[in-house]
């Protein structure tokens, strides 16, 4: 495994009476696509700006490529940033923007021009060099911002919510392109986003942040399947929670009594933190619950309940089902297939589940 390109050690940041970062530690590896994910106000942008050098940490250390960055201004750091507003210089044309950071480079004018052309070609804007900044669309501005940062060949590219200003279609397209670009140049990308889907799709690893702290740092699959807390579980995708009581606990497994599902034995590592003050509960993702249509044979354990709401998405159907003996409803998602009917509200149904998909929050 490569050495960490960025090492954060107990970084805190205080603005007047507000603590934006409360001791953040993390290693970010060379060449990975790393995302900082969290709701607005969680400190993810502050952390990014601290790495870039726009904010000085109140305490703690930021090391880039092994060097302590204390006192190193943004213009002397091997990082470059794609700003949320893109910050395209309105008084310069596209080539002027992309070549902005090359002013101090020892390259000849011809070499600089070629570097600019290459960068533009890389982001799919070949031939746009003489275009005025104000004549660009949102997607084009974003590409110029990318080219402008990448032309300097930074060790780390910082992206502050770069896709939030784009519409859905363009955003999805740019997600794919950013991922491709990152693989192509091999530079470490650090992306700040509040969109959990975006983070899952694009990242090698994700740090989920709440209130100035990293709640969990893992790859997308681990994050989704093994959230360390109820809060992370609720932030990433949908999860059903059923009240549960722990009846026995040993290193081999945990015995629980779950409302509506009955007794189950969970493996020793499949438990996570409950929200403070909440009683223990068991969580299960909607796709881990399977509706048994008609006389379909049972696989694993089965519960019964009544369909309360049906939401049809085209490729999927989401059901809200009240399981006998459990409070409230659970969400169940089913892929729509040729021979699979869509249930109606009020119908009774059987649901199959597997104890390996359960996570205990206590």
């Amino acid at each position: 495994m490569a050495d960490p390109i960025i090492q954060l050690e107990n970084v805190t940041k205080r603005f007047d009476d507000f603590e934006a970062l409360k001791g953040v530690s993390a290693d970010i590896r060379e060449g990975e696509f790393f995302s900082l994910l969290g709701p607005s106000g969680c400190g993810k942008t502050t952390l990014l700006r601290t790495i870039a050098g726009f904010e000085a940490p109140t305490s703690g250390q930021v090391r880039i490529a092994g060097q302590d960055m204390a006192g190193v201004p943004p213009n002397r750091r091997p990082t470059n940033m794609v700003f949320q507003s893109y910050a395209i210089f309105p008084h310069l044309d596209v080539a002027g923007n992309v070549g902005f950071g090359l002013r101090r480079s020892p390259m000849s004018a011809a070499e600089k021009a070629r570097a600019v052309d290459e960068a533009l070609e890389m982001v799919g804007l070949a031939g746009y060099g003489r275009r005025a900044a104000h004549a660009l669309s949102g997607g084009q501005r974003q590409r110029v911002a990318l080219a402008r940062a990448l032309v300097l060949k930074p060790r780390v590219l910082l992206l502050d919510e770069p896709l939030s200003a784009l519409d859905k279609k363009l955003r999805e397209q740019m997600q794919g392109e950013l991922r491709r670009l990152q693989r192509q140049v091999g530079i470490t990308f650090i992306l700040v986003t509040h969109d959990q889907e975006e983070a899952l799709i694009m990242s090698d690893r994700i740090a989920v942040m709440f209130e100035g702290q990293i709640a969990q740092m893992a790859n997308p699959e681990m994050l989704y399947r093994r959230p360390v807390s109820r809060r992370v579980a609720e932030f990433i995708g949908v999860m059903n929670f059923l009240p549960a009581r722990v009846t026995a606990s040993s290193p081999a497994g945990i015995e629980v009594e779950i409302a509506g599902l009955g007794r189950a034995t969970l493996s020793g590592d499949s438990h996570a933190e409950a929200a403070p003050g909440e009683p223990p509960s068991v969580g299960i993702r909607p796709e881990m619950l399977t509706i048994l249509f008609g006389n379909e044979p049972e696989t694993g354990r089965v519960a019964e309940g009544e369909v309360r709401e049906v939401v049809y998405y085209g490729d999927m159907t989401y059901y809200e089902i009240a399981i006998d003996g459990a409070p409230g409803t659970v969400t169940v998602s089913m892929r729509n297939l040729v021979n699979r009917p869509v249930l109606r509200r009020g119908e009774r149904t059987r649901i199959s589940w597997d104890e390996r998909a359960l996570i205990l929050f206590r």
Partner: protein, 289 residues
Amino acid sequence: MSEWRSSEAARGLALVGPTLLYAVAMLAVPLGAVLVYSFLTDGYLTIIPEFTLANYAEVFSDPIYRQVMARSLGVALAVTVATVVLAYPVAYFVAFHVRPERRSLWLFLITIPFWTSYLIRVFLWKVILGYNGVVNATLTGLGIIDEPLTFILYNVNAVVITLAHAYAPFAILPIFVALGKIDRTLLEAAQDLGESRLATFLRVTLPLSVPGVVAAVLIVFIPTVGDYVTPRLVGGPEGRMIANIIQLQYLRLDNYPLGSALAVTAMAIVTVIAVGFVLSLRRYLRVRQ
């Protein structure tokens, strides 16, 4: 360089520092000096550093000063009312009936006369209102009057007309800005809730434009009280205002203490009126949009 945004407050103060120092040295200190002078004793061509209230006693007891002070306030009040009432529909028109891209053109047309040769503009009102002036020539030419009118020049009327003209743009701009900030959906909501256009104006537009009206009133009232050129050129002897008296004391009679006392008194009265006016309307000024 290390902490390039280390202390925001310190950087802000450092930046504003030179401008602030200049204003302190060239405004606060001189105003303080005027205040001090107003309590000193005048010895002809010299100033005797003895504390006295005699200057203020003279300002408040001499009927001429009281009359001129009252006239200044009266003229300023008349000018303010005339200016704001006449300006409001213009600001309203530009804010609501002019396409956004044409607005700055209209505002530009309105402001141009304000920037051009104040002295000559005031003098031209003398030409317009004079015995053989434009108004009289037109009216006699049309046979409406036989003898030229004389009550329109060298008196308070002329001062009011001329000042109302000079300060017009100052009234239009703040009202326009306030009207421009009003969310148009509020007006639609009022009409949707059953109000007529007039009632909508009275119940929504007018109250929300009060901050602009207040700014217009202050920005017209305060400088007009102290205007010198207009009463001097078109006011005649019975149109003299406080600035003329202050100038007389300073430059002609060399009585700095009395001139200072007049200036301080005028500023104090104006400040009291302005603060009272703002406080009386503070209910409307606190609205956040």
